[in-house]
């Protein structure tokens, strides 16, 4: 495991950068929350904590949705909240069992909108076959909460013997993604309307639990899973590289990115590698199982666009590199700052 020193939080106030999922978020989480709550379940900072309860292994996770606008092409805050938590469980290798939902609602919020969002959550939960088993409702004065915030939590069952994590990743392993990257982040940015761009783009929000189940059928050849949300593929893989003390080398030409996402990012000066997906999974599998993993992903409708995008190397430790289509090579660092606020 990495011997990296924990980051320090040196800021006086919280800025939007602390919520962007990149370096500032890491400093906040590891510099403030982790020391405050210090315990072995939290320490791995995975998508879910995995606990032993009476012999069973339970994955436990939580996720808040503050997306703006609440409705966007391809989804809304409701299915985003359900899928986000389902995917955090799935990335831990778990089968989702039950969800909770907490609502912070602004005074004056239209009941018709709330009804529509609840229906969307119900449909997303039904698609996974998981009940929203408990919940909480709070209303705050007008001017707070910007309409609606939703916090979901979830529990799932992790199969006996399953072990995923950075410590299982080896040089030579391959990196796969289950589909195009950055669709969600750019769809929300476009839906916000202040860019005045007309782009045919929809969020990819979807549950990835069937994709992860298909991969887990390959057994211990599957090393590590992550859903690349805030901070995008680049941030997810940087966290892996640092935790595993290995290098991740991506091949730019193999990265699945929609031309609409490439174009929108090009105009805004944003790198799609840092833009969130909400219905994708990143997997590291052994070289031997790579082809089988790709076939397994592509056999599912949500994985039709899956691709092998890179491999694990021993050097340079802790770095993500990108071999450019142009023939060069560069570092892909973690996200600094916040190009896209409040996309999830």
């Amino acid at each position: 495991m990495s011997t990296r020193r924990p980051p320090k939080l040196r800021d006086d106030v919280v800025t939007l950068a602390h919520g962007a999922g990149g370096k500032a978020t890491r400093n906040l989480v590891e510099g403030l929350f982790v020391p405050a709550f210090a315990n072995p379940l939290l320490a791995p900072l995975g998508d879910s904590a995995v606990l032993d309860v009476g012999g069973a292994r339970i994955a436990f996770t939580t996720d808040s949705s503050v997306v703006k606008p609440l409705f966007f092409a391809g989804g809304d805050i409701g299915d985003l909240a359900v899928n986000g938590t389902v995917n955090d469980l799935a990335a831990a290798g778990a089968r989702p069992v039950a969800l909770s939902a907490g609502f912070v609602i602004e005074e004056g919020f239209a009941v018709a909108d709330l009804r529509r969002i609840a229906a969307s959550m119900a449909a997303a939960a039904a698609r996974v076959g998981v009940p929203v088993a408990t919940g909480d409702t709070k209303v705050v004065e007008r001017g707070n909460a910007d309409g609606l915030y939703i916090t979901t939590a979830g529990v799932g069952v992790v199969p006996a013997g399953l072990e995923l994590g950075p410590h299982r990743v080896r040089p030579g392993d391959r990196v796969l993604v289950s589909g195009t990257i950055g669709d969600h982040g750019m769809a929300v940015m476009v839906a916000r309307g202040d860019l005045q761009l007309e782009v045919d783009l929809a969020s990819d929000t979807a549950p990835v639990h069937e994709l992860t189940q298909a991969l887990l059928a390959l057994g211990e050849e599957v090393r590590w899973l992550r859903d690349p949300t805030r901070g995008g593929l680049a941030t997810a893989l940087n966290e892996l590289a640092q935790a595993a003390n290995l290098a991740v080398v991506l091949d730019e030409g193999s990265l699945p990115v929609r031309p609409e996402v490439v174009g929108t990012c090009e105009i805004l000066g944003i790198d799609p590698l840092y833009v969130a997906s909400e219905g994708r999974i990143v997997a590291v599998v052994s070289a031997e199982a790579c082809e089988a993993a790709l076939v397994a992903l592509q056999a599912h409708p949500l994985g039709a666009g899956a691709a092998v995008v890179g491999e694990i190397r021993s050097e340079p430790q802790g770095f993500v590199l990108l071999d450019t289509s142009f023939g060069g090579s560069r570092i892909v660092d973690m996200l600094v700052g916040d190009p896209l606020p409040r996309i999830c």
């Binding site: 860019l195 805004l268 142009f326 023939g327 060069g328 570092i331 660092d333």
Partner: protein
């Protein structure tokens, strides 16, 4: 994607690199300054430094509009933003730039109404929609972005919009190049001149480099193939003993630039006597201010601006990076005290700054063996 992929073709790149390999003299280093931060960014993003022959050395110039704003002006901006009646609008990449007392992003977190816009016209629209507030636009950039500010000011005047103003920090590209060329100890063999700024000012703006300093210039677009092509053109000029302003960006740039943009600039703005550049110090006639006729829309005329003056941090060696005297990683604080999250110097503050580009994309390339000059 069409019109982008063609200019990132690995096959074309190999041809150009092969040509370069045939043109350079083994062991003789050629130092080319890419003036514009967009070029610096592209060089690192596509890994161009590692592809060209070791004899080619890119020196990263002062053309990053965010990086050159001095810390005092950032503090002035924050003072304006903190006024309760003000909606302060800025391009996103100015948000994180630190002044003497934090950044606009931190001022926003403390309660200032700071909003990111993509165009000064968005700020104008905010002013129309918020007649009870004062909307100030943080106008920064070279002659590339200045015409957009000029057009916005002309519209504000045409509409007699009373609650819009610009905090003008526009700068011009010629004077800092002149300052670099005339500073002692500088050794440059040619210039990769900026593309977008040249769409406005034209290629004739660089004649002084050829006439007075005898250095070849190639006005260059921003894709990696463009930069390789420009490098080939520069080496060819040197090999053939020519010294000219060449135009590689013929798809957009004209010798006389854009007369309408120049006219809009002339109508709304004039040269300041002097302006402070982060890392380079005070340079005469290097920046623009609003003309007296536009005082109603000039934030500096309408509001009290502290006029803060803050020295660049002592540990910072940005000035030496900007004239090519040292490489980013040779600075004492690079990557340790000075990082993109907590920049000390100008070159680390924006993704187009040489140090930030190097830190983000190229930290491993420093292992590349230096070639004796």
């Amino acid at each position: 994607m069409r019109f982008v992929d063609e200019f990132r073709s690995g096959e074309l790149a190999r041809k150009l690199i092969h040509e370069l390999e045939g043109l350079v003299e083994a062991g003789r280093t050629l130092k080319f300054m890419e003036v514009c931060g967009g070029h610096t960014h592209a060089i690192y993003k596509h890994g161009i430094e590692d592809l060209v022959p070791a004899e080619i050395d890119f020196v990263h110039g002062p053309g990053c509009p965010v990086c050159v704003i001095p810390m005092g002006r950032v503090d002035d901006a924050i003072a304006l933003a903190e006024r309760p009646e003000v909606i302060f609008t800025t391009f996103g990449d100015m948000l994180r730039v630190p002044g003497g007392r934090g950044s606009l992003l931190e001022a926003k977190a403390r309660g200032a109404d700071v909003r990111m816009v993509y165009s000064p016209l968005d700020a104008l629209e905010l002013a129309r929609r918020n007649p009870d507030r004062e909307v100030i636009f943080f106008a920064i950039g070279f002659e590339t972005t200045a015409p957009a500010t000029a057009v916005t000011l002309l519209r504000a005047r045409a509409e007699r919009l009373p609650n819009f103003s610009a905090f003008c920090n526009h700068v011009t590209i010629g004077p800092p190049l002149e300052a670099i060329l005339s500073s002692p100890g500088v050794r440059l063999d040619g210039f990769i001149a900026p593309g977008h700024v040249s769409t406005v000012i034209g290629t004739r703006a660089y004649d002084f480099i050829v006439d007075n300093y005898r250095k070849p210039v190639v006005v260059t677009a921003f894709e990696p193939i463009d930069i390789l092509h420009a490098t080939v053109l520069l080496v060819r000029q040197l090999r053939e003993g020519r010294c000219e302003v060449e135009n590689q960006y013929t798809r957009v740039v004209r010798r006389d630039g854009n007369p309408r943009a120049i006219a809009a600039l002339a109508e709304t703005m004039e040269l300041r006597d002097t302006f402070e550049w982060r890392g380079l110090g005070w340079i005469p006639d290097s920046a623009l201010k609003l003309r007296a006729e536009f005082a109603e829309w000039d934030a500096e005329a309408r509001f009290e601006v502290p006029g803060a003056r803050i020295d660049d941090p002592k540990a910072c060696q940005c000035g030496e990076v900007l004239i090519g005297a040292i490489k980013p990683w040779e600075c004492k604080v690079f990557g340790t005290a000075c990082t993109p999250e907590r920049p000390i110097g100008t070159c680390m503050v924006s993704s187009e700054g040489a140090c930030a580009a190097y830190y983000n994309y190229g930290r491993l390339a420093e292992r590349r063996d230096p070639v004796p000059a």
